[in-house]
């Protein structure tokens, strides 16, 4: 057997200098038609609520890269917010004082707590950005010239800035039409008699408060 195997190997080795067959171009043919698939069956990851720490970190980042203590200092007063320690378990964070573990599912109390904090920070931002009227590069949230008695057309670009800040993308790409809905909210709040702020300032605070609690900000 061994001489036969050596002979075969020699033959194969001598055969290696032959050039490969040339593939000449043929006539272009159209691709066969694809079967139409109406239903998108590609695998999708399940949406989940972001952990409480992530959400809070986002809050602190949005409102000026605040440390938690600074956020408390900014938000307190006028019954807008008080100490963090009251809200640990309600926010979903572990609270070792009462042996409460982390909460993995959002609930109504959690939404209410985030809403309380969000409203407080939005109002303080209105006071800082719109009422005090610093230059645009010194503003935290409302980095636009406040339109006077805005129409839908003048509202949209300003709202787009807020939308990009809180939800991370232009409002024009939103999966559902959003400008009209938020403009309606703006007009409704602005139509009421405001207390400490002007009606327009209150309306921007309402738009901000709605955006920081938006469902798209809660899930990933």
């Amino acid at each position: 057997m061994r001489p036969v195997a050596l002979l075969l190997a020699l033959l194969v080795a001598c055969h290696g200098d032959r050039r490969p067959a040339v593939i000449s171009p043929g006539t272009a043919q159209p691709w066969p038609a694809h079967r139409a698939v109406l239903l998108d069956q590609s695998p999708k990851a399940k949406r989940r609520a972001v952990p409480a720490e992530v959400f809070l970190r986002a809050y602190l980042g949005w409102f000026g890269d605040l440390a938690p203590y600074d956020a408390f200092l900014r938000a307190r007063g006028n019954d807008l917010f008080d100490q963090w320690s009251y809200y640990l378990a309600a926010l979903g964070l572990p609270d070792h004082h009462v042996d409460a573990p982390r909460i993995s599912q959002s609930n109504t109390v959690m939404l209410a707590t985030i809403g309380r904090l969000g409203e407080a920070l939005c109002i303080r931002s209105v006071e800082h950005d719109l009422r005090a009227n610093p230059p645009l590069d010194k503003r935290v949230i409302f980095a636009f010239e406040q339109p006077v008695q805005p129409t839908r057309e003048t509202f949209a670009p300003a709202f787009d800035i807020l939308h990009r800040t809180f939800l991370g993308y232009p409002v024009a790409l939103a999966p559902i039409p959003r400008i009209d809905r938020f403009f309606a909210l703006y007009r409704e709040v602005a139509s009421r008699q405001a207390t400490r702020l002007t009606p327009d300032e209150m309306a921007w605070a309402a738009v901000c408060t709605a955006l920081v609690q938006h469902p798209e900000a809660w899930v990933y």
Binding site: K44, Y86, V98, A100, Q105, N107, V109, G115, V189
Partner: protein, 437 residues
Amino acid sequence: MKRRDFLGVLTGGAASLALGPTWAGASTLPDEFFIFVHAGGGWDVTLWADPRNERRGLIDPATAGNSETGGLKYWKHAGGTFEILTSKSGLQLGPGIGSLYDLRERLTIINGLAMNTVSHDDGTTFSTTGRHRTGGAVPESSVDVVCANELGGRQLMPSVAIRFPSQFVGDRLDRRAVPLRVGSVDAITRSFVRSADYLQPPDRQAITALLTEEARELARDSTHPAPFDQLASQHQDLVPLLTGDFTKALGARQLQAAYPQFEYQGFQGGSTVAAAFAIEAIKRNLVRCVGFGLGGFDTHGANQRQHALQLQELFGTIAAMVKLLDATPHPTRRGAKLSEHTHILVVSEFCRTPQLNPAGGRDHYPNNSALVISPRFRPGPFGATDPDQLLPVDSVEFSDGRRAIAPPDLLATFLGAFGIDPRRYMRDGEIVKALLA
């Protein structure tokens, strides 16, 4: 269709049929209420449910020398220890039962619960879900969440858990049953407080309506709509909570003033206000289940001397709740008392050793007792422990033979009492018909 795909569809469909909420089946019981209490730390059952007043085997009974007996309402000296109390229903009770002894003919006490654990976390999970932890994780939902899932969907707050070890596990339950887990009553009401200086209630209603609408539309267009549906229903629930007198009526200070029956200055301090919250929230028909925890029973050292007094305070709270429920009309059933439709389950994670340790305390022990006060349960004792070691004995006939009753059996029976099929939620446990009225 491939065979694997076909089997997947078949089993998925069967599972969803088996585990989805049974709103239709539960509609026969739309207005029952549930109160769950967790005695945190592990209680000494020899002082109340399974009393021991003889030095026998491992047992060191409580005496005036190793326990504070001064403030105990039902401590009667007998043979160096205490006299055991009895009821017509056959209960034997220790002096820690306190003023709940006045309601003794309504108590169902389960003794000799086989815990198979002496870990706080595991025992707590086992007592409230019927499953031990697996790799640290909780594998099943707790009993309050199951009741909320079956019977609580239409309530504003189906399940409130104030330091109660409530667990919502998996994605098959109705998202409205996610418990509101908080550390104190004030954490609930404080979260709903809003400043009157800026945005006004109609503004907040408009914001909440907008967010509900956005969440619903996102759910409609989403491949996995559950998180958005959950947020939509939670935003919707916010409206009455932000605009009504909820925060005024259910604040801790207001509750303490409205319910002086409870002890707010004792071992538990302000935590007892959770019991007042339960009564007020049920009276207002806001909740389906309220769970709360009262801790401090982990008495490894000299604090064991006060264990009976702590138990007396705990059961005093339960007794005050039952008396209030007796005196309160049902919010939706004309002519009915709340106590006829409110069901109380009191558990702890395990009991304490029958022998005293060198520090005078008692350590963790894998036996337990539980208390049920419900018109659907038969009053009296159930289960047993052995006389020398206080360990569960095989005293109950189950379909798998004679064995000791365990937490899954008790929880399955509790669910079964309200027409809920425990097998839809629990892997283990068997309904014990002898416990039911």
